[in-house]
Amino acid sequence: MSAAQRYDLVIVGAGLVGGLLAAAATRRGRRVALIEAGQKFRFEDRPRQLQHHQVFGGAVWPYENTERDRYTDSSASSIGVRYALESHRLKGVGGSTLHWGGRINRLMPADFTSASLYGTGMNWPITYAELEPYYSDAEWELGVSGTHHPSHPARSRDFPNPGFPMSVDDAFWVPIAERFGATVYPTSWAINSRPYAGRSECVAMAACKVCPSGARYSADIHVAAAEHSGHCDLFTNTVARRIDMNGDGSVKSIQVSSLQGEGREVHGTHYVIAAHAVESARLLLLSNCGNHSDQVGRNLMEHVYIDAGGYLPSRRFYPRRGGFEGLESLSYYDGPDRRERGGIKLEFTFERDPLDDMEGRRIWGKAMAEHDREDFGHWIGLGSETEHQPNPHSRVSLDPAERDLFGDPVPHIHLAFNDIDRRTQRRAREVAGELLSAAGVKTVVQDPLSVHSFASHHMGTCRMADDPDQGVVDRNCRVHGVSNLYVAGGSVFPTAGAVQPSLTIAALALRLADHLLPT
């Protein structure tokens, strides 16, 4: 990167947004700088990464750099548990799509207008109908395998790949759900059910978090396409530290540093911050940019997972043959009671390894062999993804004391729930208990509500609003008051819904590409 180099588009973050935007821009002949704090992993290394994990445990993707990635957290004071950010994100080319499961869902139309419909959350400045064409485009970019179900929102285009059919295990749930007036459907996945876009079909390696075959989408694919065009410069292990402003309220450059501390400026016409809900907000706060109404960092949202399950001795299942389990229900998502609680999406599972019980139940030797024989394949589980309401007290801020390797304040996380969130979590727990009991489970195993597990979906912190006092970016993801600065990703979500956010992130990225880079 020469000092004189000027790009059409400077993107901070080479994850899902960065990859899609860079690929779209370079296809349109634009010059792109893609700045990524993490490293570039080699596709050929994936089998080795898997084997290392199988022997040693720990992270499949060794992305962490303790000094670069430091943060502080005070969530325990509000929700009772520490939020372990390091296990919920991945810094590297491809971002969190390197280790995601690949579940794909669109937000429901009601999620965009929950304030009007239910008096909860906040309306998005755009509607589902406006985003719908981009949802379809995103499904084709990622290569989604799915089958339309009546409970899904309306779509204008078919999925690019046929859906994975219901497995013999999944079919168990159909009559049970029907007894409750609920419907279930096979999950849509960003995993190829047939060869697509130069990637193989799924070969059931049961290792989706690393996917050695490449059948599961990860955003490094789009980054590679952008690089291959010859119009994209990718800067890895390079941390964006400040946004420099001109006197006229536009961005002049992004200040970046290598991990060794070598600094430089990157200049462009447009700038997009897509560094994940935590780091995007942090960069704006560090730069004192876009925070005219004290909205930057606020309304941090996650999806709380409510897990439940139990043994069913009378029925044998066959878990972990494909590697991903594929049944969901949206029957408890919406409805009149959503005035009182948020959305709930159910995910049905059959996985629990009896061999994990060694230390907890203190069994080993022949007793363990017998335990595995009796219990393996007899577990049914229900995971409920629950909506987290926007809440100004749930936020990312700058830690007043802790510093990273450059001496910059580290992000401070404080997750908070309100009464609606607690009612949502309670209702999800009730639903799971009812369904599992109806399935024949004698003893339903559920954590108390005080024990939270999370889906690793970070949203909010730079939310989208037409009113500059209510949000950080406008309906086109442009930072209010700054002519050439955009934020993209889960950070712009005004509400979280209760589905995986990746497809909405991808759709918003493609919509931003059309806005920024008209053909």
Binding site: G57, D169, R321, M358, G365, K366, M368
Partner: protein
């Protein structure tokens, strides 16, 4: 000078404390010192012997008689574990030494040469080491030998258990012909699998 005097005093006091503690521990049956694990990290025990001992331990820990195929698969992974230079390697070597020590007490030349019943009793003895007790916390601070002894239990044993749970051997025992990392056909899930053998 004052500090030196103080440290001598403290040494005498500590000596008396150690002696009392050792007597008390002996009285309740805690071995002092757990000599076989002491310094195991630097022991130059032959790698194949250590590997074989750890393989036998894994089999006994999960109540399995390992087939030659299972043993070959696991041996590759155990070798990978031992090749990783760091505390874990030392912890694994300490465990192997301790298993042989317990085997010798039962009259076996080595853990691998013990009858299955004796191996099961030895495994039971290892698994009952209480790493969370007050004594464990105290002794870990006071003695390198005990530190190695307790590390062997809370580091090496769970690591070997993890390794087995994610191995072909664990899944083959359940009748599976594929496991994580082995390619197949996703359509397999449309049909019932095989029952537990």
């Amino acid at each position: 000078m004052v500090n030196d005097t103080g440290s001598h005093r403290w040494s005498r006091r500590r000596l008396i404390g150690f002696a009392s503690l050792a007597a008390a521990l002996a009285a309740v049956g805690i071995e002092w010192p757990p000599s076989p694990v002491s310094g195991a990290g630097s022991a130059d025990s032959a790698a194949p012997a250590v590997e074989a001992t750890l393989l036998a331990f894994i089999g006994a820990l999960f109540g399995r008689v390992l087939s030659p195929l299972d043993a070959a698969d696991l041996a590759e992974r155990v070798a990978c574990l031992l090749a990783f230079k760091g505390p874990l390697e030392g912890d694994c070597r300490a465990l192997a030494l301790y298993l042989d020590h317990l085997a010798a007490r039962r009259g076996c030349p080595a853990f691998t040469r013990c009858e299955p019943a004796s191996q099961a009793l030895i495994v039971d003895q290892v698994m009952r080491i209480d790493v969370n007790s007050m004594a464990a916390r105290l002794l870990t601070q006071l003695s390198a030998g005990h530190r190695a002894y307790y590390r062997m239990r809370w580091s090496a044993v769970p690591q070997l258990a993890w390794l087995y749970r994610h191995s072909a051997a664990a899944w083959r025992a359940r009748g599976y012909t594929r496991w994580a990392g082995v390619a197949g056909d996703w359509r397999e899930v449309l049909h019932p699998g095989v029952p537990y053998p």
